[in-house]
Symmetry: C2
Subunit: 216 residues, 2 copies
């Protein structure tokens, strides 16, 4: 069985990460979406264990203390984090587990999982990003401007990511993501066991040879 890898997806707000991830999970059976834990209250329509695991603050802090979270952060007086148990279980089942988090979280994940795959999703241009944010029709100009400034900050960290993916056409981008993730399974870092096995076998072959030489 192919070993699962942890996939961290970041990218500008409005780049279409959420839609891409959902499509990836729906169209291919090797993915699992990580579900974050949070201490904020569920919004109407949100379900515990689907959008988030909704936890009381005390339980969240206990998880922090016992290493039960891969990473966590505090926004607007609420905790958000990635429960380790669910991720580990999916990885053990051979699934590629997708986390959608921003760069600070991504770097924390990589410290603990050096073979995590960091992907950065971008729109084809800054103008297109603004058009998409405006097109939602739900955001005020202030919020859009704030997101554009935030995108500028996030763009500083792109070199930390292993791949960038340009979300121009959704269907093409889903296929490209899947193909990139498949390729990423082929790095030496993610095939230590296979490489070690090959080295041991070659070492063994050498011994076979010298025995044969002696008996010849």
């Amino acid at each position: 069985m192919r070993k699962g890898i942890l996939i961290v997806v970041s990218g500008f707000s409005g780049a279409g990460k959420g839609t891409l991830m959902k499509r990836l999970v729906r169209e291919y059976d090797n993915y699992a979406l990580s579900i974050s834990a949070t201490t904020r209250a569920p919004r109407p329509g949100e379900e515990d264990g689907r959008e988030y695991f909704f936890l009381p603050k005390e339980e969240f802090e206990r998880k922090i203390a016992t290493g039960g979270l891969i990473e966590y952060a505090c926004y607007c007086d609420h905790y958000y984090g990635t429960p380790r148990a669910y991720v580990e279980k999916q990885l053990a089942d051979g699934k590629d587990v997708i986390l959608e988090i921003e760069i600070q979280g991504a770097l924390k994940v990589r410290k603990q999982y050096p073979d995590a795959l960091l992907l950065f999703v971008m729109p084809p241009s800054a103008g297109e990003l603004r058009r998409r944010l405006e097109g939602r029709g739900t955001e005020t100009r202030e919020v859009i401007d704030k997101r554009m400034r935030r995108a500028m900050e996030e763009a500083e960290g792109i070199e930390e990511y292993e791949y960038i993916v340009v979300n121009d056409d959704l269907e093409a981008c889903v296929r490209e993501l899947h193909s990139i993730i498949a390729a990423a399974h082929n790095t030496p870092l993610r095939n230590k066991d296979f490489i070690d096995k090959m080295r041991k076998e070659l070492e063994g072959e050498k011994n076979v040879t010298s025995i044969l030489c002696r008996t010849n």
Copy 2:
């Protein structure tokens, strides 16, 4: 037009590199095979500009002196090297140019082309490697043993490569190689221009915003 990248393919003798490269070039139109230069005499059936560029020693040494070779090495009193002009021309045409060389050459190439893609081709196991070498029926036991020992040495350098490819089934491996090369085009290192452009655009957007804010 997508920028071409330099692809360096190494791997154990008997892993099937040559066949794989030929198939890649035949099946997809984005590849060009680099042709090495050598000072050794052509063998029967070999043609100048097809198997090799056959050069007199003086001309080869002039190329070394004038930087006309990306890398070169000397085996058995003959020079072998990669002419720079052909590679540069193909890259400029948007082709992904494939060089088949061993690790010392691969590392020299990467020094000059930091975005070169280094691939390592392996058989599924050491036993299978020996069976393939024996199956050729043309090599003496001494030569096979020498190649197996050489494979052990080459295996030391695998971590220098960006990807490993296991050549188990030829057709599947050709497709996998193509897919890995496509993915490799998406690293930040190979998209500096796009990333710079995006950063400049986002910077510009910020200015647009502040102008709008002032006029509002």
